[in-house]
C-alpha cells in the first residue's frame, strides 16, 4: 500500500513539474517582448529592466526563479488589470468551485441512478430512454446546452408565464444556480450513466448474483447490496477525468451565465492575451486536477482491495 501511495505521489509531482516547465517555456516562446511598448525605451533603461526581472540570466536560472516564485504562491501580476493573479484566483475560485462541485455531485448521483435503472430494466422503455438521454448528453456540447436552457427556461418561460423561475445570469440565489450546474453536468451525467449501465450489466451476469437470487434474496437487496457496490468501481476511476471536463466546461458555461468565476477570467485573458493570467490560472487548474486525480487514485486503492493485488503482481 505504501509503495502504491509513494508511486502515485511521485507521478503527481512529475506531472506538475512538466506542467510548470510547459507554461514557462510557452511564455518564453511567445512572440514579442514584455517591454515593447508604444514608446521606444532607451537602451540603458531596457538593460536595467531586464536585470530587475532577471531576464538577462540564463534560461535555467530563470526557470529556477520561476519555480521558486510559484512555490511561494506568486503567479505574477495580471498584465490587463495590474492585480496579482493570486488575488484574482482567490476572488474567483469560490464561484467556480461551488459550480463545479454542484455539477459533479449532480452528475455522479444522477448518472449512477440512471445507469442502474437502465441496466435493471434492460431492453425496456426505461433503458431506451436513459440511453437516449445519454447519447444526447455525449453529443451536445455544454455551451449549446447552456445557451438553450438559458433561452427557453430562463427567458422564454419568463416571457410566457411572467413568473421568473430561473434567472439567466448571476450566481447568488439557489434558483440561479440550477441552470448553469445542469448545463455543466449534462455531458458528465451521460458518460457516467453509460459507464454505470455497462458495468452493472457485467456484474448482473456474474455467478454470485445467481447465487444470491437462488438463496432467495429480494431483487432490491440483490441490486443494492451486491450489484451496485461492485458495479460502482469503474465509475470512481472516471471521477478524475470527469472533474477535468467539468472544470474546462466551466470556461464556457460561466461565460454564458455571467458567473464571475475563474473560467470567465480565463476566457477573458485568452481574448486579451494576458499571458501571466493564462499561465497562472493554468498552473492553478493543473495543480488542482493533479491533486484531485491523486485523491481519486488513493481512494480507489483503499476502497477496492483488488487494486493492491494487481499492483503487487507487477
Amino acid at each position: 500500500m505504501i509503495k502504491y501511495i509513494v508511486k502515485r505521489l511521485f507521478y503527481a509531482i512529475l506531472t506538475l513539474l512538466v506542467l510548470v516547465a510547459l507554461t514557462f517555456f510557452m511564455m518564453r516562446l511567445l512572440p514579442g517582448d514584455p517591454f515593447i511598448g508604444e514608446k521606444a525605451i532607451p537602451e540603458t533603461t531596457l538593460k536595467a529592466l531586464n536585470e530587475k526581472y532577471g531576464l538577462d540570466k540564463p534560461m535555467m536560472t530563470q526557470f529556477i526563479m520561476y519555480l521558486k516564485n510559484i512555490f511561494r504562491g506568486d503567479f505574477g501580476i495580471s498584465m490587463e488589470s495590474r492585480r496579482p493573479v493570486v488575488d484574482i484566483i482567490k476572488q474567483a475560485f469560490p464561484y467556480s468551485f461551488d459550480l463545479g462541485i454542484r455539477s459533479l455531485i449532480f452528475a455522479t448521483i444522477m448518472g449512477v441512478f440512471l445507469g442502474i435503472v437502465a441496466a435493471v430494466k434492460r431492453g425496456k422503455i426505461g433503458d431506451t430512454l436513459t440511453m437516449f438521454i445519454a447519447i444526447i448528453g455525449v453529443s451536445v456540447p455544454s455551451f449549446i446546452v447552456g445557451a438553450i436552457l438559458q433561452y427557453y427556461l430562463g427567458l422564454k418561460l419568463f416571457q410566457v408565464t411572467g413568473f421568473k423561475m430561473f434567472p439567466i445570469t448571476g450566481w447568488d440565489s439557489f434558483s440561479s444556480k440550477i441552470l448553469p450546474a445542469f448545463a455543466l453536468s449534462f455531458g458528465s451525467l451521460a458518460t457516467i450513466s453509460r459507464l454505470m449501465r455497462t458495468s452493472m450489466l457485467d456484474v448482473l451476469g456474474q455467478d454470485y448474483i445467481k447465487t444470491a437470487k437462488s438463496k432467495g434474496l429480494s431483487q432490491r437487496k440483490i441490486i443494492w447490496k451486491h450489484a451496485v457496490r461492485n458495479a460502482i468501481m469503474p465509475v470512481i476511476t472516471v471521477i478524475g477525468p470527469i472533474a477535468a471536463s467539468v472544470l474546462t466546461g466551466a470556461f464556457v458555461v460561466e461565460n454564458i451565465f455571467s458567473i464571475p468565476g475563474m473560467g470567465k477570467f480565463f476566457v477573458q485573458s485568452i481574448q486579451t492575451q494576458d499571458y501571466t493570467m493564462i499561465s497562472g490560472i493554468t498552473l492553478f487548474y493543473g495543480t488542482f486536477l493533479v491533486l484531485a486525480n491523486l485523491i481519486v487514485d488513493l481512494a480507489y486503492g483503499f476502497i477496492d482491495p483488488r487494486v493492491k493485488l494487481t499492483d503487487a503482481k507487477e
Partner: protein, 315 residues
C-alpha cells in the same frame, strides 16, 4: 422397434469431386461485420446523415450564389427563407450581423470543421499506432517508460494544453492548421494506449508464435498480423474520436481561439450566434444542430461499429 431393411439403402460411392466444394459463399470477418452493421438501423441512418452532411459541405459552397464573406448590409439579420428583392436569391437560413448568407457559411464552416477533425484524428491515429505499436511489441522497460510518459500527459487536461499551444503556435500558418497541430499534439494518447493493449494481447497468440517459428521478421509480423488484427478497435475508436475533435474545435472557437475571421467554422458560427441569441435564436440553433447532429451520428455509428466488429462485447 422395427429393424430397417438394409436393402432400402444404396451405396452411392464416395464422390471425391463434390466432397470439397463449399455450397455457401465464404464470408470473411469484414463481410460478416458489415452484414451485422447493415442490420443496425440507427447506425445506418447515422451513416446516411454523415453522407448527406459531407455532400452538402462539398457542394453547397461551390454552387451557392453567395461567397462565404459576402456582405449584404441592406438586409442583415434576415429571417430564414428571406428572398433578396434585388437579385431574387433566397437566404435559406437567413443572414447574420453583416448580412452574410448563413446557409453558405454553415456549409463552408462544415468543410473547415470536418477538415480539422478528420485531419487531427488521422494524425492521432498514425502517431497512436506507431507509439502504441512500439510500446506493445517491444514491451519491458521501453513499454514502461513510454506508458509513464502517456500517464504524465494525461495528468494534465488536454484542453488546457491545446489552449496553451494555440496561444504559442504562430498564427501565420493559418488558424486551421494551428488547430490541427494543437489537437494532434495531445489527442493521440488514447489511441496509443488502445493499440498497445491490443498488440500486447495479440502477440502472445499461437499464430504469432507460429509465424515467428517459421522465421517471419518483426516487421512482417507487425504489418501482416498485428496491425490488421487490431484494426477493428482502431476503426471504432476513430469513429468515436471524430465527435470529440469536432467538440474541441467548436469549444476553442467558442472561447475565441478559433479560425481567423473571414473564415467560418461551426464553432465560430455558434460563437457569433450566442451574441445575438436572445433576439435571433436561429443564429445559434442552426450551427448548434449541425454540431450536435454530426457528433450524435458519429457516436451512434461508432457504437454500431463496435457491436458489429466485436459481437462478443455486444450489450
Amino acid at each position: 422397434m422395427d429393424r430397417i431393411d438394409k436393402a432400402r439403402f444404396e451405396w452411392v460411392g464416395a464422390n471425391a469431386s463434390e466432397g470439397g466444394t463449399i455450397t455457401r459463399p465464404s464470408t470473411s470477418y469484414w463481410k460478416d461485420a458489415m452484414k451485422r452493421l447493415s442490420k443496425n438501423k440507427a447506425a445506418m441512418i447515422c451513416l446516411g446523415i454523415i453522407g448527406i452532411i459531407a455532400i452538402l459541405a462539398i457542394f453547397v459552397p461551390m454552387l451557392s450564389p453567395y461567397e462565404v464573406s459576402e456582405q449584404h448590409l441592406t438586409h442583415s439579420y434576415a429571417k430564414m427563407g428571406y428572398k433578396d428583392p434585388v437579385d431574387g436569391h433566397v437566404h435559406l437560413f437567413g443572414t447574420d450581423t453583416l448580412g452574410r448568407d448563413i446557409f453558405t457559411r454553415i456549409w463552408s464552416g462544415a468543410r473547415i470543421s470536418l477538415f480539422i477533425s478528420f485531419t487531427a484524428v488521422f494524425v492521432n491515429v498514425i502517431i497512436g499506432i506507431i507509439y502504441g505499436g512500439i510500446s506493445g511489441y517491444v514491451g519491458g522497460a521501453v513499454d514502461n517508460i513510454m506508458m509513464r510518459i502517456i500517464e504524465i500527459i494525461n495528468g494534465i487536461p488536454y484542453l488546457i494544453i491545446v489552449i496553451l499551444l494555440m496561444m504559442v503556435l504562430p498564427k501565420e500558418i493559418n488558424g486551421v492548421m494551428t488547430m490541427v497541430i494543437a489537437y494532434a499534439a495531445v489527442g493521440w494518447t488514447g489511441m496509443a494506449r488502445l493499440v498497445r493493449g491490443q498488440i500486447m494481447a495479440l502477440k502472445e497468440q499461437d499464430y504469432i508464435i507460429a509465424s515467428r517459428v517459421m522465421g517471419a521478421r518483426a516487421l512482417r509480423i507487425i504489418f501482416k498480423h498485428l496491425i490488421p488484427n487490431s484494426l477493428s478497435v482502431v476503426i471504432v475508436n476513430i469513429t468515436l474520436a471524430i465527435p470529440s475533435a469536432i467538440f474541441t474545435e467548436s469549444f476553442l472557437s467558442f472561447i475565441g481561439l478559433g479560425v481567423p475571421v473571414p473564415l467560418a467554422s461551426w464553432g465560430t458560427l455558434a460563437n457569433d450566434g450566442v451574441k445575438v441569441f436572445q433576439q435571433y435564436p436561429s443564429q445559434l440553433i442552426i450551427p448548434a444542430v449541425c454540431i450536435s447532429l454530426t457528433m450524435l451520428s458519429f457516436n451512434l455509428l461508432g457504437d454500431g461499429l463496435r457491436d458489429a466488429l466485436d459481437p462478443k462485447l455486444r450489450r
